[in-house]
């Protein structure tokens, strides 16, 4: 019997942009036939759809078939804030009352991942996947770090432990401040690193800006299944139009 690995992958960046990893995982899981719940909090659906087409998946088609459920967090935000929408806005209730936590958002995620298998055509999708593009934007909207960590814990319990699915979350950090006790994205990232299986951290090169090497990525395997190991590796990468290429440090084509 095949054991299914359920992964909680944390993608973080500091003064760089790690969103290319989110696009990669989105196309990867869609191609694998999993049911994907995507919380798009910082970009619109058409952005992901355009990139997805270059990577070879059609998001619009996946959405129609029911394989992809996309929450348009950005485009519906102003409507919720200006109180003039009469539609159901439970998932985005954190916009109106950021202090109350993210229960509405969790209920949305839960309802989405639990209905895998009831596709219209009777297709059953693979294990559910939760993708969140930019959890740290919730900090800018006034939600506390504790509430966000509670939300990810609930999601992990439901998606990874109960349903054997996967989770990929993007968190964007700022510079390390002198006073680390302040509630910020660094605190959130540290809290999430302890919950996750695999942490991918993207940064710029420590030596400065370079046109050919867009940055470095640190891969930190924390836990795989039942074995706990602590393996860290650093790669350099360059983002192309249709993907990214990773190479060992110092072996960029610009250098060799």
């Amino acid at each position: 019997m095949q054991t299914v690995q359920s992964d909680f992958i944390l993608v973080s960046d500091r003064r760089a942009d790690a969103s290319f990893l989110i696009h990669h995982y989105l196309s990867f899981y869609l191609r694998a036939g999993c049911k994907v719940c995507f919380l798009g909090l910082v970009q619109s659906f058409s952005h992901y759809s355009a990139v997805g087409q270059r990577l070879g998946v059609s998001l619009a088609q996946a959405r129609e078939k029911g394989q992809l459920v996309f929450l348009e967090g950005l485009k519906e935000s102003f409507g919720v804030l200006l109180q003039d929408t009469s539609q159901e806005t439970q998932p985005l209730s954190y916009l109106r009352s950021p202090g109350a936590g993210l229960e509405g958002l969790f209920r949305f995620v839960e309802s989405c991942v639990r209905q895998s298998g009831d596709g219209n055509a009777g297709e059953s999708w693979g294990p559910p996947v939760l993708l969140i593009d930019d959890l740290s934007v919730l900090l800018s909207l006034g939600v506390s770090v504790g509430a966000i960590l509670d939300f990810t814990l609930y999601c992990q319990a439901t998606v990874c432990s109960e349903l054997q699915g996967n989770m990929v979350i993007l968190v964007r950090c700022e510079e390390e401040d002198a006073d680390d006790d302040e509630e910020g994205s660094n605190l959130l990232q540290r809290g999430l690193v302890h919950q996750c299986n695999l942490a991918l951290h993207v940064e710029g090169l420590p030596t400065g800006y370079c046109r050919d090497i867009h940055g470095q990525m640190e891969v930190w395997w924390r836990q795989r299944g039942e074995t706990i190991y602590n393996q860290r590796k650093i790669f350099h990468f360059k983002v192309h139009d249709k993907g990214a290429s990773f190479f060992a440090r110092g072996t960029s084509s610009a250098v060799l």
């Binding site: 952005h47 990139v51 990577l55 102003f78 109106r96 934007v137 900090l139 030596t207 400065g208």
Partner: protein, 426 residues
Amino acid sequence: MAAPVRGMAGSPSIGNTTSFQKKTRSKLVSIPGTRPSVQNGQLLVSSGVSSLDYVIGGGLAVGTLLLVEEDCYDSYSRMLLKYFLAEGVVCGHELFLASARDHPDEIMQELPSPIVDDVAGMKISEGQSQPSDPENPDTMKIAWRYQNQPRVQTALASSVRFGHYYDVSKTMEPELRQAAKCHSFYQLQETPVTTGSSPLPSPYHALLKSIQTVIRKEGFDGSTPQVGSECPRLGLHSLGSVLWGDDVCCKVNPAHCHALTTFLYALRGLLRTSLSVAMVTVPSHLIQNRAIMGRIIRLSDTAIALESFRGSEKETNPLYKDYHGLLHVCQLPRLNCLSSEVPDTKDLAFKLKRKQFTIESSLRAPAPAFIFRPASQPASALSPQNTPSTHPTALRVYSYGTSPNPNEQRGVKTPPRLLTSAVSGL
């Protein structure tokens, strides 16, 4: 992959000299003052300053937010805002201007006047270029493909061009300015409304509501299908300052620390649903909490910061004597594609001259890749020395050391390593 630029059907571009009409499903190309990006096919508008357009990847993409971090005295960022609005007037875009310090009408009256090649004066009435009469004895025999080009470059022909040049020593003609529709929001004249349970405090809430009302009323969100509708430009001046009722510039831990960030988030959502472009200036030198500034930058699409030399010790630094300040590109957007525009260099300096705002690399390059010179004027005649004067000078960012000034004193030999200190990691 480069989007084909030539032959876009429906484009009223005067340079379309072929009869080849490409079928395109997009109706967006017919908006005057816009052009598709060669990078990813996004529709771009000009920011009013050609060299700034080059630095940020061809122009401002429609539906995005440009954040400008103000310099200390808000002189050059205000100039950029005026260029932005003037470009909107010339292209026929609608304007929305919000300000808390100066009345929007005052800002509108200070817009620079566009430079046109027509010496007979500017024509402001609506009209297209006249196709020449076939019976005209001046019918071209050899260059017959250029028959339909306008003889004289009129102001209207320039209005469908992408990017114009402005003369900052003159203000725009009132007739031209009034031909453009401008909505304004002046914070001090708005009556405060209790917003109840909204996390946005009153001024930002009222501003967001006003923007949404304008967009809905004019149908820019697609609710009323208008072919060739213009793309409105929103200029928001000095958001986050105390006059907006926000204390993010006063304290390290402000009471409403999420007000400005929530507003920017909602504004970006609003821009994505409508075909509008926004330029927001923020007095970042007053914001003491760097984490909030980092969030503000990430919440916008394109972010640049201006650092003027006026009043700082760099003013007398011989390295910088040809320039008025440094320009930092803090963030470039990735729109509909994986890779973003990667600039050649991140050390940029700007200079304001009478007829131009130029931005160039501040490194001592042997041959600069681009220098924009619309009118041949000696740089020495207009480049101010180290006296900060209010005389309007065109902003021209040069790579210092390569300005065409023949009698420039190059007494200072600085090693190039010194210049790379301004380079910051991606």
